[in-house]
Subunit: 243 residues, 2 copies
DNA sequence: ATCTTTTGTTACGCCCTGTTACCTAAGCAT
DNA sequence: ATGCTTAGGTAACAGGGCGTAACAAAAGAT
């Protein structure tokens, strides 16, 4: 994909310049901004893949700005703060920040988080538009990419519901990558398996149903593992035979 | 196909700009408009594939405008409204809106709806104007494009009713594309097989009858699949031998 | 006019899917 | 270890979508 375009928002000129330079030196396009007006200007002037947002912007509050941004468009935001107090962290997450990092930060850690958020959002995007018909193989199982059924290692046909197939597709597209329930729900909605906003424990139940069909022992899942506090991972290699 | 050209109609400059930018960033051509005059100007200056229309346009009412637009030309319209009241929603649909979304909206959801409407209208258009007489082959079956019968893979003649033939034509014209019951009904009426507005479960029954004639095992359809909550798909490649 | 064929409607039942509730397992502090 | 708290598994339930048999209405055919 194209070079990621970041926006660095900080009212302290020195910090702002430092971070901008740092991100540029590491291969990103970085645009500095100090005020909400500048943020908006940048957002209107071109694609922005990620915002590094200082929590403390003098008169303006970064958390509030983030809240407003997230209501309008889905730009990923990483909070940067000099105050590593936990309640701040919480406030940030509730508004919909994608991550949080405290000043002074380890530059490598910042890079890692930025890349993580970028690949995460990229992932969902790639997931959404992936519609190719291919045959997938995992742990002896086969899925032909279109039918609502899988072939077990012993060659048995196992019928899946549409929703289960959708979940399987999402997992197959993201092997070894832990997916949150929100990501799964979003992918299922957009890929058009069915509509319906995911509320409550729907994903848990769905995972359970799929496990009961493709796991040898659903009590001890080998394919779809639970990442406690995070979500689910499909922890098997997947080979794709394009057709 | 060409890049879709959208028109964003909203009297709030901020909202208008934001939505315009957002659609542009996602690969569309987006033209902002605030008044009915601007709408008309844009419509006259070039092709418009879809209008995102704010319901509340100060003095003018979006619903009224939509009604006038639809009388003149068949531009798809998605309503955007800050008021998610149901009667508003209904009013929108009755005028002929193609979809409806409430502010503040999930950007991904908006994108999904826009894409859905665009492919839907593109599809029906191709469906309506396809009238050529050709011979179609699918999964060993043959349909000569005019008679009310098909030849089975083993060469048997299977008589179809007019309505069943119409459904088959619609499906043949749209392989691998899920069609809603409304789309099917509309296509059946427009292609002139018979008239009659589709009410209730007519399409379901019709699909069932066609399945019983051309599916080896109607209980496990291989040709006409059900897309739960959506409609039906003809999931077989179709070859067309022009005559 | 009567019979036959086509086509839409209704009703019933099955299956899919999200919600709820309860229980167990995993952390965590003491 | 023991008890407490919370996340996750899952059975049971409910609502709704879909297949389809049976009926009714409409259109031809004889």
């Amino acid at each position: 994909m194209a070079i990621p375009r970041l926006m660095v928002v900080d009212d302290d000129p020195e910090m702002r310049g430092m971070m901008t330079q740092f991100m540029r030196r590491n291969g990103f396009i970085a645009l500095p901004a100090a005020t909400e007006a500048e943020i908006k200007a940048h957002l209107e002037n071109g694609r922005i893949d990620l915002i590094l947002l200082d929590v403390n912007l003098g008169d303006e509050n970064g958390v509030d700005i983030c809240g407003r941004l997230r209501k309008e468009q889905a730009v990923p935001v990483i909070f940067v703060s000099a105050l590593s107090a936990d309640h701040q962290r919480m406030a940030g997450y509730e508004v919909g920040a994608d991550d949080y990092i405290a000043k002074p930060f380890n530059p490598d850690l910042l890079l890692a988080r930025v890349r993580a958020v970028l690949t995460r959002t990229q992932r969902t995007a790639s997931l959404i538009y992936r519609r190719r018909v291919s045959t997938f193989t995992f742990a002896g199982w086969t899925y032909d990419g279109k039918r609502d059924e899988v072939l077990s290692p012993s060659g048995y046909q196992v019928a899946l519901s549409q929703r289960e197939t959708g979940l399987l597709k999402v997992l197959l597209a993201n092997p070894h990558i832990p997916l949150t329930r929100e990501e799964i729900a979003a992918a299922l909605d957009v890929t058009g398996e069915t509509s319906a906003e995911a509320t409550g424990r729907a994903i848990d139940v769905l995972v359970g149903r799929l496990r009961s069909k493709i796991e040898a022992n659903p009590k001890e899942p080998k394919l779809i593992k639970t990442e406690r506090g995070v979500g689910y991972v499909f922890c098997t290699d997947v080979t794709v035979d394009k057709s």
